[in-house]
Each structure stands twice: as structure tokens, then as C-alpha cells.
Amino acid sequence: MELVVALAMNGLVWGLIIALIALGLSIIFGLLDIINLAHGDFFMVGTVLTWFVLEATGNYWLAFLIVPLLGFLLGALVERSVIQPIRGMAALSIVATFGLSIIIQEVVRAGYGAAPKRILPPIEGTIPLFGIEYDYYRLFAAAVSVVAIFVFFAFLHRTKLGTWMRAVRFDRDTALAMGVPARTIYMVTFALGFSMAALGGAVAAPITTVDFQTGVDVLPFCFMAVIIGGLGNLPGTVAAAVLLAVTEGVVTSFTDPTVARIVSLCLMSAVLIARPHGLFTGATR
């Protein structure tokens, strides 16, 4: 029983981090029509930047500030150089972001090295929770993700920039006619998506390993969350990410992780075939 609780909790924490990353993927897809195969690598860049910040300053908390900021700048740069020329052409975006993914991974391998490294969490210790001793840091990671997700939704619905973003997504031409600077909005959206993935990386760095290949594993998971949650349904994405991760955690407590992965993938294909437009259809776009 304790094992089930512990693994379900791990699933919940990991699901919330994935939700943060997948939200970035979802806004990039929804607004720019870009199928971003490099999104997992944006997450990986976040973990690697965290390692570098830690090396340079020795202060983990600084990473939570600097990494998303650097992610935002990198995102803006990538949007201007790679994404802008092919915006709105989904098939080409797959190829371009695949190329981007190759470049990012190789640059990281050259600059950071091919060997996976581990980072120690900034807060140690455990806390009794539901009859088990649970890592403080994982709870903290979950809290950071939840706060970031709430801030993101608040930004989207309560600020001018966020409203503009939703307006461009809803009807680009009308938004343009109303004086919304669409090009800037595209850049900000992409940069924000990168930034959220990078923050996810900073949060997850002590939980996973820091390695130039982690993005490859994270990417399908994020896409599944976006699709199962319903394309463009942002709260659905969050719910789907958590649901997927918790399911996998619980199943892992009964069998080995590979079988658990197979089970969750089978469940996912069942959902896709039965409810192709997401588990939560009828919710807002």
C-alpha cells in the first residue's frame, strides 16, 4: 500500500511538471500552428541551464529565476530565426523543429558533455504524508508547478498581452485589424512556451538526470497530454498530464516500469479511438 501511495504521489508530481511543459507546447501549437518536435529539448535545455547556474553561483534558487528568463530569450531568438519563415505550415514545422532538435541536442552535447549528471535538491529531508515519508523537494516541485500554471492562466485571462494572445488565436485577421501586433504576439507566445518548458526543466532537474537526451522521452508524453486533454483545451491538458502520470505511477507499483508504460500507452490508444477529440470535450477552447 505504501508503495502504491508513494508511486502515485511521484506520478502526481511528475504529472504537474509535465503539465507545465505541455501547456507551453499547447499554446505554441494552438497559436502558431507549429508542431514543435523540439519541445522536449527545450525542457532538457532547462535542466542543463540549471546545472550551469548551479556550477556558476552555487545558488539553486537563482536558477528558478534565471532559467525561465534565458528560456524566454532563447525562445524569442528561435522564433525569429527558424519559426517565423514557416509559420502556419504545420508539415514544414515538423521538419524544421526536428532540425532544431538535432542542433540543440548536439550543441548541448558539445558544451555540456555526453555523460548524464545528477543535481542534489536544494531542500533535503522528508515529511510524513499519508502514512509514508515523502521527499520535501518533490512537494516543493509540485507547488512551484501549480503556482506557475496558475500564474500562466492568470496572465492569459487577466492581462492585455494574454487577451491579445487569445484574440490572435481566435481570429487573426480581426485581431490585426483591431491593432493587435500579431508578429510580436507570435514571438512572445513561442518564447513563453520555451520559458515554461525551461522552468519545468529547472524544477525537474533534481528529480531526473541532467542529460542531453532527456527531451526525447518527455516529448511523446507531452504530446499525449495535449491530445488527450483535447487540442486547444488548456485546463484539459493539465488534467490529462496528471491523469496519465498518476495512472502510470500506480501501475508501476504492480509491475515493472516498462510494462506500466505499455499499459498506459494501450489505455491512451483506447481513449484516442473512443474519444478522438479528447477526454474533456465540451469544455472551453
Partner: protein, 349 residues
């Protein structure tokens, strides 16, 4: 005029491919014969992506599944079941096509993003099964085998252990497959597929069975990918689960789009370009993938219809007087453009 240039180029390339073993030998570049064989095999894999995406309008990220099935069919057939050359090849094809028939029946109920995701999910399921079924597949390490003879008559033995025999075997299989693809694309069935790609509602309204067309395209594409997998297993005397990962499927998609989706030889051009670039650069610089990524991005930005689209546009410019062009006389434009454009915004909720 344009058709004549195309035919001349095609015949020249074919002639070069046939004399390649002797040509490379005289230049002391035998090493390149294996690379050429590898390009041929992977271009067959890319053709599988092209049948689905370029002609049926279904973007699959799961073709590696059938590639892997073909590989394991051959490897397990020879190493575990003790089959000969041809029965093992048959087993590989049967497994790949059988899997495609079952997976396709479910997958083609969905389109566009949903289809792309479910093909990834299916291929991941079998990737993890292949990883965990260690006794059968060898898991991470894979299964290797020693090559049985292709033909044995008395003392005479024909086997792929001879590099030249192996090259010609691969060349003839891939050549035949491309001829088959040509026949399919030009047939009424191929036209029906393109009608589905352009507009599935209209296609169904004129009486085409959209589900059945998509399913058959999926099975045919699965067969092509499976055949590529069989050849690759024979070529490397080896099968491994790593070739079932979705990244391999992604490479097929990239090669196809770089070469030109919806064109007959686009996949060959894209595959050849990227594999040759890789082989050339990997000797010079350890971090050559950075340059591969740059080539990919620049091609997409400057030749959005792929290299074949670029070539067609160039030929049109050169062979047609300007007046014709102004009057809309660009026969190749609409079809290629459709492949690049129709994927945009379709089926968005």
C-alpha cells in the same frame, strides 16, 4: 520538354546505380557501395512515409513499427526458427503487413494530428514490448544472425556475403518497389487516394470509400516499410528494438519532406542528401549533427516544397516561355503545393 529532361535524368541515375560497383572499385571507394545500399534501403522506408503523407494525406510517425517488424521477422526467422533466406524474408513481410492491417484498421479511423499521435503510440507500444521480450528479441542488444545462402545449386552458391551481390539484390528490390509505387500512384486507385488527400468529404460524396482507401494505403505503406526493414536486417545481419523508436519514423518524415512529399522520387533525393551529408561530415567534425540540423532547417525555409518541388519549379522556369507561366501554365504547381499546404489548419477544432 520537361518530361524528357526528367526521363533523361532518371535513366542517367539508374545507369550510374547499375555501374556503381565497378565505378567505385576503379576509384577505390568500395566503402561507398555499402553507403549506397543503405541510402537505397532508407529511401524505401521514406517511400512508405510518402505513400501515406504525400498521396493519402496521413502523416504517420509510426512507420518505424513496421520497419522493426520486418527486421525482427527476418532476424528471428533465421536465428531462432532456422529458416532459409526466402522463407525468412516472407516471414518478415507477413509480420509487417499483418501488423499494418490490424493497426491500420484502428488508426485510419482518425486523421491528421490524432492519426499522427496514434501512430506514435502504437509504435511506442511495440517498441517497449520488443524491449521487454528479451528472450525473443534480445531487447536492447538485439538479435544477430549469420547469413543463409540466397540460392544453392550444387557447388554454386549465391549469398549476400558478397558485397556486389548484396548491392544488386538491394538495388533490384528497391527498384521493383519504386516501380510498384509508380504503378500505384498512376492507377485509378492512386488518383482516388489523392482525391481523399485533397478533400475527404468531397471524395466520399462522389462515392469513394474513404475509410477503405486510407486503410489500404496504410497497409501498402506498412508493406514498404516492412520490406525496408527486412532488407536492413539482411544488410546488417542484425535486428534491434532501437529501430522501432519514433525517432526513426521522424527521420523518414524529414527525408520525405526535404526531398518533396507527394513526388515519386522525392524520398530518394531527401534520403540520399541527408545520408551523404552525414557520412561526409562525420569524418570531419565530431559535432556534425549541428550542420545536418542546419541543412534541414535551411531546406525547409528556402525550398518549402522540397528539393523535387524546387527542381520542378526550376525546370518550369527554364523550359516555359514567360507568357505561358503568366497564363498559369505550370502543370506541376498545384499538385506539389497541395501536399505542402493541405496539412494546414485542416480538422482544427
Amino acid at each position: 520538354m520537361k518530361a524528357r529532361i526528367d526521363r533523361t535524368v532518371l535513366l542517367a541515375v539508374l545507369a550510374l546505380l547499375i555501374v556503381a560497383p565497378w565505378l567505385l572499385q576503379s576509384m577505390e571507394l568500395e566503402f561507398w557501395l555499402d553507403i549506397l545500399a543503405e541510402v537505397l534501403i532508407w529511401s524505401l522506408f521514406a517511400a512508405s512515409v510518402n505513400i501515406l503523407f504525400g498521396y493519402a494525406g496521413l502523416l504517420s510517425f509510426g512507420q518505424a513499427l513496421f520497419f522493426g517488424m520486418g527486421m525482427f521477422g527476418v532476424a528471428i526467422g533465421i536465428a531462432k526458427l532456422g529458416l532459409g533466406f526466402w522463407p525468412a524474408l516472407g516471414l518478415g513481410m507477413a509480420v509487417a503487413v499483418g501488423t499494418a492491417a490490424v493497426a491500420g484498421a484502428l488508426a485510419v479511423r482518425l486523421t491528421w494530428h490524432y492519426f499522427a499521435i496514434i501512430t506514435v503510440v502504437f509504435s511506442l507500444i511495440f517498441y517497449f514490448i520488443a524491449l521487454s521480450a528479451k528472450p525473443l528479441t534480445g531487447g536492447d542488444d538485439g538479435t544477430s544472425f549469420s547469413m543463409p545462402a540466397m540460392l544453392e545449386v550444387g557447388d554454386f552458391e549465391l549469398s549476400l556475403t558478397d558485397q556486389t551481390v548484396q548491392y544488386f539484390f538491394i538495388l533490384s528490390v528497391v527498384g521493383a518497389a519504386y516501380f510498384l509505387k509508380f504503378l500505384i500512384v498512376k492507377s485509378p486507385y492512386g488518383m482516388a487516394l489523392m482525391a481523399v488527400r485533397e478533400n475527404d468529404t468531397r471524395a466520399s460524396l462522389i462515392g469513394l470509400n474513404v475509410y477503405f482507401l486510407r486503410w489500404t494505403a496504410f497497409v501498402i505503406a506498412g508493406g514498404f516499410a516492412g520490406l525496408a526493414g527486412c532488407l536492413f536486417a539482411l544488410f546488417g545481419r542484425y535486428a534491434s528494438a532501437t529501430y522501432m523508436f519514433y525517432h526513426v519514423s521522424g527521420e523518414g518524415v524529414v527525408w520525405t519532406i526535404i526531398g518533396g512529399a507527394g513526388t515519386l522520387f522525392g524520398p530518394v533525393v531527401g534520403t540520399a542528401l541527408l545520408i551523404v551529408v552525414r557520412e561526409e561530415l562525420s569524418n570531419m567534425w565530431e559535432h556534425y549533427p549541428i550542420l545536418v540540423g542546419l541543412v534541414v532547417i535551411l531546406t525547409v525555409i528556402f525550398a518549402p516544397k522540397g528539393l523535387m518541388g524546387f527542381w520542378n519549379a526550376l525546370l518550369d522556369r527554364l523550359t516555359q516561355p514567360p507568357a505561358d507561366r503568366a497564363a498559369g501554365g505550370e502543370p506541376h504547381e498545384p499538385r506539389e503545393e497541395a501536399a505542402a499546404v493541405q496539412v494546414r489548419g485542416k480538422d482544427r477544432p
